[in-house]
Amino acid sequence: MLKIDSISKTFFPGTVNERKALQDVSLELDESDFVTVIGSNGAGKSTLLNTVSGRLPIDSGSIRIDGAEVSRMPEHKRARYLGRVFQDPMAGTAPDLTIEQNLSLALRRGKPRGLGRGTTKARREHFKDELATLELGLENRLKTKVGLLSGGQRQALSLLMAGFTQPRILLLDEHTAALDPQRAALVTTLTEKIVSSGGLTTLMVTHNMEQAIALGNRLIMMHEGRIIYQASAEEKKNLTVETLLGEFSKLKGASLGDRALLN
């Protein structure tokens, strides 16, 4: 489904600020895999997601989705394969457009957009059904501007928009990190629901170890641009925070500060 083959990415190469964000990273996701990515600051987690989404070009390596090489494809073209939710709840929706307009935009993801009506009656019914699954009452507020929603509601909507068109791969970039604990829990629950009901192949970055263990069927840990630990589906079932911390403390050069951040 997704095949990342020894990709590398260096920021500011040849300068004093040079930083190797990804070093020879390889990762393969099968159909319906849900992989959580964990690691401290600067580990390369978000860079990994951004290279898959096309927001950042890679220096070397290859990225294949469904067998198609996409690493040279511009971001807007890759969108046809990808559903994405960002860390910033404001980033995934257009605030001045209504809920139904945002959903209409998402509905046409990766498809040509012409002069057909954006919000038809049929689409509206479809949106109502989809919004009802969020259980936030948004199905009765189709004409509300998204800018008026709370961060949690917007993130839930972003999640729905990313998932309801059955993307080949769903990319979640610390999408609960900017929410308060209750909202984060809500969005986490919705994530599970949307991913499992759609059987979506998912790559999720998180800072939260417990979330990383609770969600998904596989887990990878990154450090300084490399994948340093992988838990397969079998291993992940018995994984605990202590095991992960143990793995992390084996690393050379990992400071206590990094450990604290992982918690």
Partner: protein, 325 residues
Amino acid sequence: MFGALELGLIYAVMALGVYLTFKVLNFPDLTVDGSFTTGGATAASLIIAGVNPFLATAAAIGAGLIAGYITGLLHTKGGIDGLLAGILTMIGLWSINLRIMGKANLPLLREETVFTPLRENMMLGTWLSIGILLAFTLVLKFAIDWFLTTDLGLSIQATGNNQQMIRSLGVNTDNTTMLTLALSNGFVALCGALVAQYQGFSDISMGIGLILVGLASVILGQAVFGSRTIIMASLGALLGSVIYRFIIFLALRAGLDTNDMKLTTALLVVVALLLPRWGFLRRIPSLRNRGNRAPARPLEGTVDTPDQMAGAAAGTPTSTGKTEG
């Protein structure tokens, strides 16, 4: 009085174009000063060459589309700042406009224009001509309203609202930006063509300062009609242009002369932008900060946002590094 109404309605065509770029796309497009004259110049030279005035007006629209497209190219493919891209096209158009006209002023006396039927029947300056112009601008307004609610139009709105989001949904924002700039300048050039025919000449300096007239119209309209929906916002731009002409009309009545009008316009815009800051007309602050778009996020691997403050406050671990990976 009737003259002010007619002018207001004709200039409303430009206000609608400025609304498209400035409000919908969130792009301060200064091409307007040049493309307006391009429209006037193209129409005037073609009419003098014996072309049907309606065809000449259509050609003017085409010239405006090209002008806007060039600004779009400079901005998207060339990566030039939007303001500068507009200025570059505007300045470049000055020479092109002179080439089109051959000289600085082209009179259209005794030429047949789109206004000739009205003029010959002594209907200019009557309710009938105002009705016709109003109907014409309303058709354009409803065309914009319709267009912006299509799938394509929604993606244009989203381009002005949240580029990152709409790119992640597969829209090439370069294309939507260029398309909107082209359309907007098509409107502006159409307005230029109509003005040239209405006043009976095309002049190289007829477009100078027009972007402010367009802005003044959009802002005034927004102050009066609000901008909650597209239907109201575009109506605001249309009627804002009429209101603007009335203010100019009153300023002239009050003893100012036409040379003072640029300053009057500038002051009008400044006042309209500052009033909300002092607590009046709270509806229009969005123009001062150019819309409520989501904060633009830098590319190179930075994911830090103010929202992390919220995350940190709530005890959620968040990144603090400048270049989180």
